[in-house]
């Protein structure tokens, strides 16, 4: 740490190579485009090195860098927000005129607790989360994966808490629909 704070080039390179892969995987969760994810990691590392004097050692360096790269990825997402997002209405349940659920709701044949131990299932779930539009994926990742509260998520995304709750619920429903064929045992 003292070498980092002294601006030692070798210490910087050690941090980039040691923590870079992990930071890149976190950035990829938020940003579907590889170049955007790499740019977010670069933003994060440069910002971290510039701010290394502020690092007080109360958390681990890995935790501190993780938080910085999440912020960097969210900043990149905001830059790209001008792109129109696709609607997820077709992934949300529909209801009959009398208020009943439309269509069949099947039990999942694949046991969740067993399937999460399987690499293939985790790959399918990550791929399904990737399919969510940016604004829904960001809320889902911050609340369900990063473990942030509704108010923290609202603050970091510049939304009110009601909007965060609505987006989280819709994101979970959309993810459920995307996982349904696989978890019913109907997908290859």
């Amino acid at each position: 740490m003292s070498r980092l704070q002294a601006g030692d080039d070798a210490a910087y390179e050690h941090v980039v190579r040691k923590y870079g892969p992990r930071l890149l995987s976190v950035a990829r969760r938020f940003l579907n485009h590889e170049q955007d994810a790499q740019d977010a990691v670069q933003d994060a590392l440069l910002s971290a090195f510039r701010s290394i004097g502020r690092f007080e050692g109360k958390s681990s360096l890995a935790t501190w860098l993780h938080r910085i790269v999440v912020n960097a990825a969210l900043a990149r997402l905001r830059l790209g927000r001008r792109r129109a997002e696709r609607s997820i209405d077709d992934l949300i349940p529909r209801f009959l005129a009398d208020g009943h659920l439309e269509g069949e709701v099947a039990t999942w044949a694949v046991a969740t607790d067993r399937s999460v131990a399987e690499r293939e299932t985790r790959r399918v779930v990550r791929g399904s989360i990737e399919q969510l539009p940016d604004s829904y994926r960001a809320v889902l990742l911050l609340r369900d994966i990063e473990g942030q509260s509704t108010s923290e998520t609202a603050e970091v995304l510049g939304l009110n808490e009601s909007a965060v709750k609505t987006r989280l619920h819709r994101a979970r429903q959309a993810l459920r629909t995307l996982l349904d064929p696989y978890m019913r045992g109907m997908a290859p």
Partner: protein
Amino acid sequence: MMCREFVEFLLDYFEGNLPDDQRRPFEEHLRLCPPCVRYLETYRETVQLGRAAFASAEEDCGDDIPDELVRAVLSTLKRNDAAKSGDVAPRGDAPPA
């Protein structure tokens, strides 16, 4: 309560934020409507699957960091050009909640 309201209230129910006057009809609907029982179960499983998908270290170990990214970071540092990039570092080093 119909399925439409039941599904609408799911998030608050899971987070323990459903007021008593809504929780009672919610649970009564749950007792009477098998499709909503299955919807609730699969919604809960979806949240569990999402959390588990990133809990493993496997996704972090698959790839190395691209050399060009390492070089870009280090060369920018050497040019002392970091001030041009956005400041995304938090104040202090409190861990995320």
